[in-house]
Amino acid sequence: MQAKVKNNTLIIYVNGDLDHHNAEKIKDLADMKIMENRIKNVIFDFENSNFMDSSGIGVIMGRYKLVENIGGIICAVNMNQAVKRIFSISGLFKIIRQYDTVQDAMSVIGEEK
């Protein structure tokens, strides 16, 4: 898993399936970065991930709870059909914004600052 920080936004590059196994790794990485860098917004990039199950929902919801009270937003980008379906069935799209690319999400975050 890789992560990048730009201003107060954290980008998590999901590598491989977002299942229970990888959920634990992403959670640890994200929380470390959030604490270290006063992160407000998180972007999950699914370009290198084709699969997500309910463990992924837990991770995304958990990060949402961390940033929502400071007015942060969570975005998901580069999702394939299978991942999108999990987002929509679980209702995650009600709280998580969907964009095509990291750049799209970054520019929306920049405008709202």
Binding site: G16, H20, F51, S55, Q81, A82, I89
Partner: protein, 140 residues
């Protein structure tokens, strides 16, 4: 009838292995991409339950049995772990006994949504068997 029997160690690394094995077996029914992703999700949820709940992240064996009969795929996933105290409650959407671990509580709901039929049998301190059936090519 064709069958597949696999035993895997209860480890989170093996969740992806279970998905790949079962979806490769299901491929014999010539499923659509969406059907394959439904099967992968359901298997992932069931195996994750064995790892987290059944064996509570300790050592154990997960038994996977699949059969194909005509165009029906039956997947049975069993653990010999702690068992479920209240199956009805466990199956409720958003219910989880491990909320502190950020579990969404959607595991059984996803098995229900993505498969045609789900049965759960469990006995305390004996284990749990989840059986799921999906008809492949169910377009009409």
């Amino acid at each position: 009838m064709e069958t597949l029997n696999v035993q895997i160690e209860s480890k989170s690394e093996n969740e992806s292995l279970a998905r790949v094995i079962v979806s490769a077996f299901a491929a014999r029914l010539d499923p659509t991409l969406e059907e394959i992703s439904d099967i992968k999700t359901a298997v992932s949820e069931a195996v994750t339950n064995c790892v987290i709940h059944g064996y509570e992240e300790k050592d154990g064996i997960i038994f996977i049995e699949c059969t194909i009969e005509e165009n029906n795929l039956t997947i049975s996933i069993k653990d010999e772990g702690v068992g479920i105290e209240d199956i009805e409650k466990a199956r409720l959407p958003m219910y989880s006994t491990k909320r502190d671990k950020e579990r969404s509580g959607m595991g059984f709901s996803f098995m229900e949504i993505f498969m045609d039929k789900l049965t759960v049998e469990s006995e305390l301190n004996k284990g749990t068997v989840v059986t799921m059936i999906k008809k492949i090519g169910n377009i009409s």
